[in-house]
Amino acid sequence: MLPRTTLILGACLLSGVVAAAAPAVHEFKLDNGMKLVVKEDHRAPVVVSQVWYKVGSSYERDGLTGISHVLEHMMFKGTQKHGPGEFSRIIAENGGSENAFTSRDYTAYFQSLEKSRLPVSFEMEADRMRNLRLNAAEFAKEVKVVMEERRMRTEDDAQSLTYEQFNAVAYLNSPYRIPTIGWMDDLESLQVGDLQRWYQQWYAPNNAVLVVTGDVDPQAVLKLARQHFGPLAASTLEPAKPRHEIEQRGTRRMVVKAPAEVPYLIMGYKVPALSTAKADWEPYALEVLAGILDGGDSARFTRELVRGQQIATTAGAGYDLNDRQESLLLLDGSPANGHDIAALETALRAQIAQLRDKPVNAAELERVKAQVLADHVYQEDSVFYQAMQIGTLEAVGLGWQTMDRYLPRVQAVTAQQVQDVARKYLIDDRLTVAVLDPQPMDAAARARAQKAAAQGARDVH
């Protein structure tokens, strides 16, 4: 038998006694407005360098969707000084690994290197921050690569396709409705001149944050950053328009038909993020709420829906409190054999109703918090993740200090607060539901099904 104490964690919760540990994070600002954040980790002789730009698909306009991501691809195509692909070759020869990623709120470029090679990264990143050479022939090939990426990630993945369309319906005027990879039609009409303007508008030291983690001396990193990035000219930045999502007035429902074998359901409730919340405890309460539903194998979805009632074969909940705009608490899943999408939706709604009606019990709450605490230690194992965390918070405008608040704020969340946010936000008027309606995989059967549907439609009239 296990000692009982592992089951029943003491009821006395944190009472504001936690003194924050002195952070080993150092923040600097260069004269041209570029921010540098350094976090030391001396376990291994390595360094991670990331340049974060405050631009992503939520900065984009209709007709030019996907432009931030295409520009990210073009950033590997050379500058006045370095030819296409040369940057990658130099990093590789230095034993490094590198890549980049684009999201709704940021675009970031990174290298992982043995610590003495940091100057190689800075030299290249500084160069392509201001001197990118956007060549029409290179663009013509690279945009085809991005279209293949879109086919792979979205067109040929029925669940991704459903999510993309769900997202475009859940948001009406918020730029979060834009898929980061871009609509295919927009990719097809994108011009190299569009990219040139996008690059000039957003790629400047005063719109960038340099994050360095690893076995480094912060002062030496600052000196190196001044040497490489210091001479770059700042831009006059036009602030992004607010584009706040209008209030949702009633449930939205939609169906996506695509060749597939397994039905799939997505539900999203409009909820605040740290950047948008009027009451700043609410996002932490939503974070805990998501953990109650899907924070591990002991959480409610797996325990009650997958194992208990066996209505779902998979069921998940997700929420990102670091979004720049008003966000969604997402639920998704596929029904178990013998159940349909309607039954799954009913079960998920019942889970939400339970959160509104009854406070979560103490053991559940503390289990979620225990995992958050332990994860706080585990995440220190990755030098890369530590940089990711700082970069994300900086790029969305919350500041890296937010990560030091995360632990005490999550620990302070009460069962009442979880119930309060459920009652306030997890209501039908804020809900969007999308269903993947599987169509036959076989082309002939699909054609027959379409014909029958058309026939049915005519019969009605």
């Binding site: 964690l9 043995e114 225990a370 706080h376």
Partner: protein, 438 residues
């Protein structure tokens, strides 16, 4: 208890931060011993973070499925769904209540079970007690078996809608024919439906034994504590015997092409042959040589020809996957259906030219510089070191594998790469798999 956990994490993090400012130590040498019942243990102390990782690897992958595809995976899935009378709910509650994370994988060669925990005995000991039960006393309850079987059946359906999964499954089936590696780890509908408790219990009893297990440990524990950890984790395992050696993999007799219709907008193209064993004498030569061909991410011949010059695919690669017996040598890409023929031609020509000519001196040097220069990155976290220990233990690689790695990479010559590729890769005798629309 809970407040203690909070204090512990705070204190531990603060101590870690105070420790900052020193300079990085090289990874400590690997320590190796056996538990009393015969499991082989590999340990590296990592005192910096107050956490510990344990990974137990059994030679119990789908290569042991015999006539019952899915047997290894269903057995593995059920380990934490009920053990020693604890239900799946209780197991998860016990572990997650102390912040521990359970992980696992069921592959062709290996079945693994991992525990990540805080290293303070107050949290580690209860987590370890549950972990040991999961390893040694699975209940295989009928209700759990039926539910997980149903979930695997839906996972099979889901895989059918994903062109990458279809191509991979088709590739392995065609490449390995009657060899145990042909057995799909996720099973087949017929086989899964026929599996019962007796089959799972028998599989478990045969393969989940100490002499068929490797234990890797990395974390903030000393040797004595690590020895106790390994003993406790494996205490309930029968001593047993190692799994028998798998049959050798036969070469493809002739080139083969397999097309599968799929409603995707892209065609997934795979090209391959049986490749190498983990202890293959050509391992380092082929590893370096493949980096030039298609292993170097954006910097490779395949990436140049397929992506950079022609914009045909987002991802294009080649790799040797070394396994207990010969794992695949595989090349792959995905492209719009109407470009599939062109992309396949480029893939084949690039491979044929590389096998005929080998790398240039500059390419070889660049490959060696990348691989040796990246050594520090390969072992910069507990997680990565743990993975190396598991591989070193499972495939019985020398304990100085990591220390001697760079020397072996540097010793590879142009002539050796050319020779090895000519001997080991026959571009005219490849398996080709195309999954997509016409």
């Amino acid at each position: 208890m809970f407040t203690d956990l909070l204090k512990f994490v705070r204190l531990a993090t603060a101590l870690f931060l105070l420790g900052a400012g020193g300079s990085a130590q090289a990874m400590a040498p690997i320590q190796h011993w056996q538990t009393t019942n015969g499991a082989r243990v590999y340990f590296v102390p990592a005192p910096e973070l107050p956490m510990v990782d344990i990974k137990v690897v059994f030679n119990a992958g789908s290569a042991r499925d015999g006539e019952h595809p899915g047997l290894a995976q269903l057995t593995h899935t059920l380990l934490d769904k009920g053990a020693d009378g604890l239900s799946a709910d209780r197991i998860a509650e016990h572990l997650e209540g102390v912040g521990a994370r359970l992980s696992g994988d069921s592959l062709r060669d290996m079945a693994t079970l991992g525990l990540r925990s805080l290293s303070d005995p107050k949290y580690l000991q209860p987590a370890l007690a549950v972990f040991a039960k999961v390893l040694a006393k699975p209940d295989f309850n009928a209700a759990d078996l039926n539910r997980e079987r149903e979930r695997m059946l839906i996972a099979l359906q889901y895989a059918q809608q994903q062109p990458d999964a279809v191509s991979e499954k088709t590739f392995y089936a065609a490449l390995y024919g009657t060899h145990p590696y042909a057995s799909p780890p996720e099973g087949t509908v017929e086989s899964l439906k026929a599996l019962d408790r007796a089959a799972l219990q028998a599989f478990y009893t045969r393969y989940y034994v100490a002499h068929n297990a490797v234990v890797a440990i990395v974390g903030a524990v000393d040797r004595a504590a690590a020895e106790k950890l390994a003993e406790t984790a494996t205490a309930g395992l029968a001593s047993g015997a190692p799994a028998p050696v798998l049959p050798a993999v036969a070469d493809l007799a002739a080139a083969r092409e397999q097309r599968v219709a799929h409603p995707s907008t892209q065609t997934h193209v795979l090209l391959g042959q049986p490749g190498i064993r983990r202890d293959d004498p050509d391992y380092f030569t082929l590893y370096v040589g493949n980096y030039v061909l298609g292993g170097g991410g954006l910097v490779s011949r395949l990436s140049d020809e397929v992506r950079e010059k022609r914009g045909l695919s987002y991802s294009v690669y080649s790799y040797f996957m070394p396994m207990a017996e010969r794992g695949p040598f595989e090349l792959g890409l995905q492209t719009r259906n109407d470009q599939a023929a062109e992309a396949l031609k480029v893939l084949r020509e690039t491979l044929a030219r590389y096998v005929a000519e080998g790398p240039t001196a500059a390419e070889l040097e660049a490959a060696q510089k990348n691989i040796t220069g990246g050594q520090a990155l390969r072992i910069d976290s507990n997680r990565k070191i743990l993975e190396y220990l598991a591989v070193i233990g499972f495939y019985r690689l020398p304990l100085d594998y990591l220390e001697t790695f760079n020397g072996k990479i540097e010793a590879v010559t142009l002539e050796q790469v050319r020779d090895a590729f000519k001997r080991r890769v026959q571009p005219e005798r490849m398996l080709t798999v195309l999954v997509g629309g016409s």
